[in-house]
C-alpha cells in the first residue's frame, strides 16, 4: 500500500524557512500572507499487511521525522 507522510515543525519551534518566505512574499507581489510553515511531504510504498500502521509510525519516529522538533502524521492508502 501507499503511505503519505506529512511532517511539520512543532508548534512554538522556530521555522526559519517559513519566516524567510513570509518576509519575501510582499516584495513578490503577494500581500497579506502569514503563518507560513514549511515541512516535508513524503510518499512511499510499503508491503500490505496487518501492522502497516504501526510500522509506519515507527518509521516516522525513527527516521523520517525528527520528533524532537517535528510533528508528523500519515495516511495509508491501499493500492
Amino acid at each position: 500500500m501507499k503511505a503519505k507522510v506529512y511532517i511539520t515543525p512543532k508548534k512554538g519551534i522556530l521555522d526559519p524557512q517559513g519566516v524567510a518566505i513570509e518576509r519575501a512574499l510582499p516584495a513578490l507581489g503577494f500581500e497579506g500572507v502569514g503563518g507560513v510553515r514549511v515541512g516535508k511531504y513524503i510518499e512511499l510504498e510499503l508491503p500490505d499487511g496487518e501492522g502497516a500502521g504501526e510500522e509506519m509510525d515507527k518509521m516516522c519516529h525513527k527516521l523520517l521525522a525528527n520528533p524532537i522538533i517535528e510533528d508528523y502524521r500519515f495516511e495509508l492508502v491501499p493500492d
Binding site: P16, Q17, A20, I21, A24, A27, V38
Partner: protein, 244 residues
C-alpha cells in the same frame, strides 16, 4: 547612463559589479579577487538596486541568499536587481553566476536546468579538476580547450539536472563550458563530486554572455591560498571587454 570612469592612462578600466543579496557570503571574495587584476575595478551592488550603470560584467556571488531556504536561489531571483540583470544580459552584458549565483541564474531562467541536492546529500568542499570544454567564449578564452584546471567547489546543491532535449541543445550549441574530470581530463563517474548530469560543472546561455558555474574561480586567484587556476576566468573577461 553615467560617464565611464577612466584610468590615468586614459584606458577604460573594466568594471565589475558584485551583487550583494542578504545571505551572500562570497561577495567580498569576488570583489577582492577582481580587484587584484590590473585594469579591473569592482563595486558592490545592493540587491534592491534597480539600475546597473556603466558596468561591463556582473557577478552573482556564492553564498546562501535568503538562507537558501525553500530552494537555493528561489527567493533571490525575485530581488529588484535581478530585473536589471536580465535587461543587462539581454543587451549583451556579461553575467557570471558562481555557485549560489549559478543557482539563482537557473531559478531566474537565465540559464536552463535545475539543481538537485548533491548525490551524497552532504555539503562538499574540495578542490576538483575541471576540463574546459569551450574555450571560445568571453569567460574562458584565456584557457585552452581540453585544459584541466583545479578549482574548489563548496556546495550542498550542485547536482545539475536538465531534460534530454535540453541536454542535446546544450551540447549542440557548445553551452557546456566546464565539466568535472579526473587529473588527465577524462570525464569519469569517480570525478563527479555531486552527481551532476554529464559531469556538468558550468554552462552558458546561447549567446555565451551569461555563465553559471558551481566551482569558485575567485577562490583560486592567489597561490598562497590554494592556487591560481581561477584567474583565467577574470582575465578572459577583462581581455574580452577591452577588445570588444
Amino acid at each position: 547612463m553615467t560617464a565611464s570612469p577612466q584610468t590615468h592612462t586614459g584606458v577604460h578600466a573594466v568594471r565589475f559589479g558584485v551583487v550583494v543579496f542578504p545571505g551572500s557570503n562570497c561577495d567580498a571574495d569576488s570583489y577582492d579577487a577582481v580587484s587584484t587584476f590590473a585594469g579591473a575595478e569592482a563595486r558592490y551592488l545592493w540587491h534592491k538596486d534597480e539600475e546597473l550603470d556603466g558596468l561591463d560584467c556582473v557577478i552573482l556571488p556564492g553564498g546562501f541568499s535568503y538562507g537558501d531556504y525553500l530552494r537555493c536561489g528561489a527567493i533571490a531571483r525575485f530581488s529588484p536587481i535581478m530585473k536589471a540583470v536580465r535587461r543587462f544580459a539581454e543587451d549583451g552584458g556579461l553575467v557570471i553566476g558562481i555557485c549560489n549565483g549559478f543557482q539563482i541564474l537557473l531559478e531566474a531562467g537565465l540559464l536552463p536546468g535545475a539543481m538537485h541536492r548533491n548525490e551524497g546529500l552532504r555539503f562538499v568542499c574540495q578542490l576538483v579538476n575541471l576540463r574546459v570544454e569551450n574555450a571560445a567564449m568571453p569567460f574562458t578564452h584565456r584557457y585552452d580547450e581540453g585544459q584541466v584546471i583545479q578549482v574548489p567547489i563548496a556546495h550542498m546543491e550542485g547536482n545539475y539536472f536538465i531534460d534530454e532535449a535540453g541536454l542535446s541543445e546544450l551540447e549542440a550549441n557548445k553551452q557546456i563550458v566546464i565539466r568535472y574530470a579526473n587529473e588527465s581530463g577524462e570525464i569519469t563517474g569517480e570525478a563527479n563530486p555531486n552527481g551532476s548530469q554529464g559531469n556538468i560543472a558550468g554552462i552558458c546561455n546561447r549567446t555565451s554572455n551569461v555563465f553559471g558555474l558551481m566551482p569558485h574561480p575567485e577562490r583560486v586567484c592567489d597561490s598562497l591560498v590554494g592556487g591560481a587556476d581561477g584567474r583565467g576566468v577574470f582575465e578572459s573577461v577583462i581581455d574580452f571587454v577591452k577588445n570588444r
